[in-house]
C-alpha cells in the first residue's frame, strides 16, 4: 500500500470499500478465532466476577515518542481493568477516522494495537469503523471497551486507603504529559522524553502473586499522580504524606517542569499505577513490581495518615512540610 493512499468517505459508507478497508487494515492484524465477522462477538463467560470498562482516545498528536493513539487505546482500557484487579480478556474497538487520513498511518496504529494486545494476552473481538468528513474529526479517534475477569480475593477500591498504608508508584511520574507537551512544540523546548505509555496487567499480576492485600490501585492518567492521590484522600477520608525526594522524576521531565513552572505530579502518565497497601507488604510489592519491565522503577513515595483528611502534604527536600496544591484540572487538552 503506498504512502499516498488516503481514507475516503466511501470507506466508511458500509459497502464494498468499507469491507476492503477492514480487510486491508484491521482483519489480518486482529485475526483470532474470537474476532467476529458478524454483528457481535460470541464469547465464553469469565469464571468469576467480571469487570468492564470503556475509554475514548483523542490524543493530539496521534503519534508521539514512545507510542501512538493505537497503543494508547489498548493500554488505557487494559490498565483500567487491571486497576480493579481484573485480568483483561476481551476488547472491542471503534474508530472514527477523518476523511483523507493516510492509510499507512492507520496501519501503523493497527499494528501497535495488535502488538500491545498480543503482549497483554487480550483478544480483540469486535470493531467498528466510521469515516467523518474532513474537519469533522481531527485525524483518528478510537474508543475501546474491555472485559476482564476478577482475580479471586483481590478487591481494590478507592475508598480502602487506611492510615499506615504505604503509597507506591510503579515508575517515574509525568512522562506522558511532558512528551505530549514537547510534541506540540508550543514552547520551543527540546528534551529527550519518551511517553511511559505501557500495558500494566503483567505488573499487577506479579503483585497479586505476592499478596492480595492491596487496598487501592489507580492508573494516574489525566491529572497525574497528584490528582489521583487527592481523589483517594477524599474517597477514603484520609491524609496523604509524600516524601518529595522519593518521588521518581526523569531528569529531563524535571528540567522541563522547572522551566515552565509545572508540577510533575500533575502531569499525565499512561503507564503508571498508584498502589496503596499495608506498610508491611509494601516492600515485597515493590520488589515484585521491579521485576516487571514496565514497573522497574517502582518506589514507595509516602504513606497514608489519619491527620489532615482530604489533603496531600509533601515533606520537602529541605525538611519542611508543605501542601501539594489541589488539582486544578488537566493542564493540556487532548492528552489521551
Amino acid at each position: 500500500m503506498s504512502a499516498a493512499e488516503k481514507v475516503t468517505l466511501a470507506m466508511g459508507a458500509g459497502g464494498k470499500q468499507t469491507s476492503e478497508l477492514i480487510e486491508r487494515v484491521f482483519a489480518q492484524r486482529f485475526a483470532s478465532p474470537l474476532l467476529t465477522a458478524d454483528d457481535a462477538a460470541v464469547l465464553d463467560a469469565p469464571h468469576g466476577k467480571m469487570a468492564m470498562s470503556t475509554d475514548g482516545f483523542i490524543v493530539s498528536p496521534s503519534f508521539f515518542a514512545g507510542g501512538n493513539i493505537g497503543k494508547l487505546s489498548i493500554c488505557g482500557t487494559v490498565n483500567d481493568l487491571a486497576c480493579m484487579g481484573a485480568r483483561p480478556l476481551y476488547l472491542t474497538c471503534a474508530f472514527v477516522i477523518e476523511e483523507g487520513y493516510p492509510l499507512d498511518k492507520l496501519e501503523q496504529i493497527a499494528d501497535a494495537m495488535a502488538a500491545t494486545a498480543a503482549e497483554v494476552g487480550v483478544t480483540l473481538v469486535a470493531g467498528d469503523t466510521k469515516v467523518a468528513g474532513r474537519g469533522q474529526v481531527d485525524g483518528v479517534f478510537i474508543t475501546t471497551t474491555g472485559v476482564g475477569e476478577l482475580v479471586e480475593g483481590a478487591a481494590p477500591e478507592g475508598s480502602k486507603a487506611a492510615p499506615g498504608d504505604a503509597i507506591i508508584v510503579t515508575g517515574d511520574v509525568g512522562r506522558h504529559g511532558c512528551t505530549i507537551l514537547l510534541e506540540r512544540d508550543d514552547f520551543g523546548i527540546e528534551a529527550d522524553v519518551t511517553s511511559d505509555c505501557a500495558p500494566l496487567w503483567a505488573s499487577v499480576e506479579a503483585m497479586f502473586d505476592v499478596t492480595h492485600d492491596v487496598h487501592v490501585i489507580r492508573d494516574a492518567t489525566r491529572g497525574g499522580v497528584g490528582t489521583v492521590l487527592y481523589e483517594i484522600a477524599g474517597q477514603s477520608d484520609v491524609g496523604v504524606v509524600l516524601d518529595a525526594a522519593a518521588i521518581p522524576v526523569d531528569p529531563a521531565v524535571g528540567g522541563v517542569c522547572r522551566m515552565l513552572g509545572l508540577e510533575p505530579l500533575y502531569l499525565a502518565c499512561e503507564g503508571r499505577l498508584v498502589i496503596i497497601a499495608p506498610k508491611d507488604v509494601a516492600p515485597a510489592i515493590v520488589e515484585a513490581l521491579r521485576a516487571c519491565p514496565y514497573s522497574a522503577g517502582a518506589a514507595i513515595i509516602g504513606e497514608v495518615t489519619a491527620e489532615r483528611p482530604g489533603w496531600v502534604v509533601l515533606n520537602t527536600e529541605i525538611g519542611t512540610q508543605t501542601l501539594l496544591p489541589q488539582p486544578t484540572g488537566e493542564l493540556l487538552p487532548r492528552i489521551c
Binding site: 508550543d186 514552547f187 520551543g188 513552572g261 489532615r308 489533603w311 502534604v313 520537602t316 527536600e317 529541605i318 525538611g319 519542611t320 512540610q321 508543605t322 501542601l323 496544591p325 489541589q326 486544578t328
Partner: protein, 350 residues
C-alpha cells in the same frame, strides 16, 4: 573557627534570636518557591517574610486591562501571556471580552506575537508588554523585528516596570529585601550598592532551595546587626555589570516614565514607554487611544498585600469569593501572586 560559622543555613534561620526582622521578597518566582518549599516555617516568630510587588501581573493596574479591552473592542487582536487573560479590569476581563467576540490570542513569547502578525496581515496585532527588566528586552526585540520586516500591523501596549524607584518607594516596608535574581542579571548590582548608601539592605537571591535558604540565612545574619548591607548570593548568574547588551536594547527603544503600580500608586520614573521614534509600534498612538482610568473592586486588598501591610487571609474576599478559579484581584490570578501562592499552599494550615 567560631561555632556560628559552622551552622548550616537552615540552622541559622531556625536559631535566629535577634531583633524583629521584616524580609520582603521582590520577585514572584521567589514568592512561589518560598511557599512551595515551606520556607516560611523555617523561621522563628520574630522574622516576617513579606511578599512584595514582584509579580508582573499583580502590579499591573486595572486601567491597563481596561486599555487592552478597549483596544480589542476597537478591532485589535490582543496577544498576551496567558496569566493576563483572567485578570479583572473595571468591568470584565480579557476572558469575558473574548467570550463576547474579541480576538485574544495567548502566546508564550513576544516573538510568537510577531509571527502571528506576519501570518494575519489583515489584523492589527497588539502585544501586552508587561513585566520588569527581565521581560522588557524580549518585547523590544519583537518590536524591532516587526519594524525590520516592515510589518505595519504589530504594536506594543506597554506597562513595563523597573525596580530602582520601586525599592525607594518600598524602603519603609521591610528591613531587608530579597532582590530578584533575574532582574539584576540584566541591570547588574550597582543599584544595590547605591541603596546601601541610602540605608537600604538586601540580598540577591537565586531560585533553588539551596540558593534561597542560603540567601535568607545571609539576610538574618547580616540583618541582625542593623547595619545596611548588600550581598550577592546569586553570583553564578548575576555579574556586577549585568547584561549590557540587554540594557542597551531597552534604552534604544524605551525611556523612563511615571507609572501606576497596583497597590502602590504612581511611582515617578518607574515605568518604561516607547520613545517617539518608535511611535509606529506604540499601540496607544497607533490607535489614538484616549486616557482610561480603571477602578478596582473596593473590597479587594491586593494593594495592601503588595505593600506587605496585610496578609492574604486578612482580605474579606480571600478564599471565599476570590479563588484561583474565580479571581477578584490580580494577586489571585498569577501562580506567582501572593494570594494564589497562599491559597494553593494552604495558608497557615500546616
Amino acid at each position: 573557627m567560631s561555632d556560628a560559622t559552622r551552622l548550616t543555613p537552615a540552622q541559622i534561620l531556625a536559631s535566629y534570636d535577634g531583633r524583629p526582622l521584616r524580609i520582603m521578597e521582590v520577585c514572584g518566582t521567589h514568592t512561589h518557591e518560598i511557599f512551595r518549599l515551606g520556607i516560611r516555617k523555617m523561621f522563628p516568630a520574630q522574622v516576617e517574610l513579606i511578599s512584595g510587588p514582584g509579580c508582573p501581573v499583580c502590579v499591573t493596574p486595572v486601567g491597563f486591562i481596561d486599555e487592552a479591552i478597549w483596544l480589542a473592542e476597537h478591532g485589535a487582536t490582543i496577544t498576551t501571556f496567558g496569566d493576563l487573560v483572567r485578570v479583572p479590569g473595571t468591568s470584565g476581563s480579557l476572558a469575558t471580552a473574548r467570550a463576547a467576540g474579541a480576538r485574544v490570542q495567548v502566546v508564550y513569547s513576544p516573538l510568537d506575537a510577531v509571527d502571528y502578525a506576519r501570518e494575519h496581515t489583515d489584523e492589527q496585532v497588539v502585544f501586552l508588554s508587561v513585566g520588569f527588566e527581565t521581560t522588557v528586552p524580549a518585547s523590544c526585540l519583537a518590536a524591532k523585528q516587526a519594524l525590520d520586516e516592515g510589518l505595519t500591523n504589530f504594536s506594543l501596549l506597554t506597562a513595563n516596570k523597573t525596580m530602582p524607584n520601586a525599592y525607594a518607594a518600598l524602603r519603609d516596608s521591610a528591613d531587608v529585601f530579597l532582590y530578584p535574581g533575574h532582574v539584576h542579571a540584566i541591570i547588574g548590582t550597582a543599584l544595590c550598592e547605591d541603596l546601601v548608601a541610602q540605608g537600604v539592605s538586601g540580598v540577591l537571591a537565586g531560585f533553588t532551595a539551596k540558593e534561597l535558604v542560603t540567601a535568607l540565612a545571609v539576610a538574618v545574619a547580616k540583618g541582625a546587626t542593623g547595619e545596611p548591607f548588600f550581598v550577592n548570593a546569586y553570583p553564578r548568574v548575576v555579574r556586577p555589570e549585568g547584561t549590557p547588551q540587554a540594557v542597551a536594547l531597552i534604552d534604544e527603544l524605551m525611556e523612563p516614565c511615571d507609572t501606576e503600580w497596583r497597590g502602590l500608586g504612581v511611582i515617578p520614573q518607574s515605568g518604561l514607554k516607547l520613545r517617539d521614534k518608535f511611535a509606529a509600534v506604540d499601540a496607544r498612538r497607533v490607535f489614538n487611544m484616549p486616557a482610561i482610568e480603571g477602578r478596582a473592586n473596593p473590597a479587594c486588598r491586593c494593594g495592601e498585600i503588595l505593600r506587605g501591610s496585610c496578609k492574604p487571609s486578612d482580605c474579606p474576599l480571600f478564599g471565599r469569593v476570590c479563588t484561583p478559579q474565580h479571581p477578584v484581584g490580580a494577586c489571585m490570578v498569577s501562580g506567582e501572586g501572593a494570594c494564589s501562592a497562599y491559597y494553593q499552599y494552604g495558608g497557615d494550615m500546616l
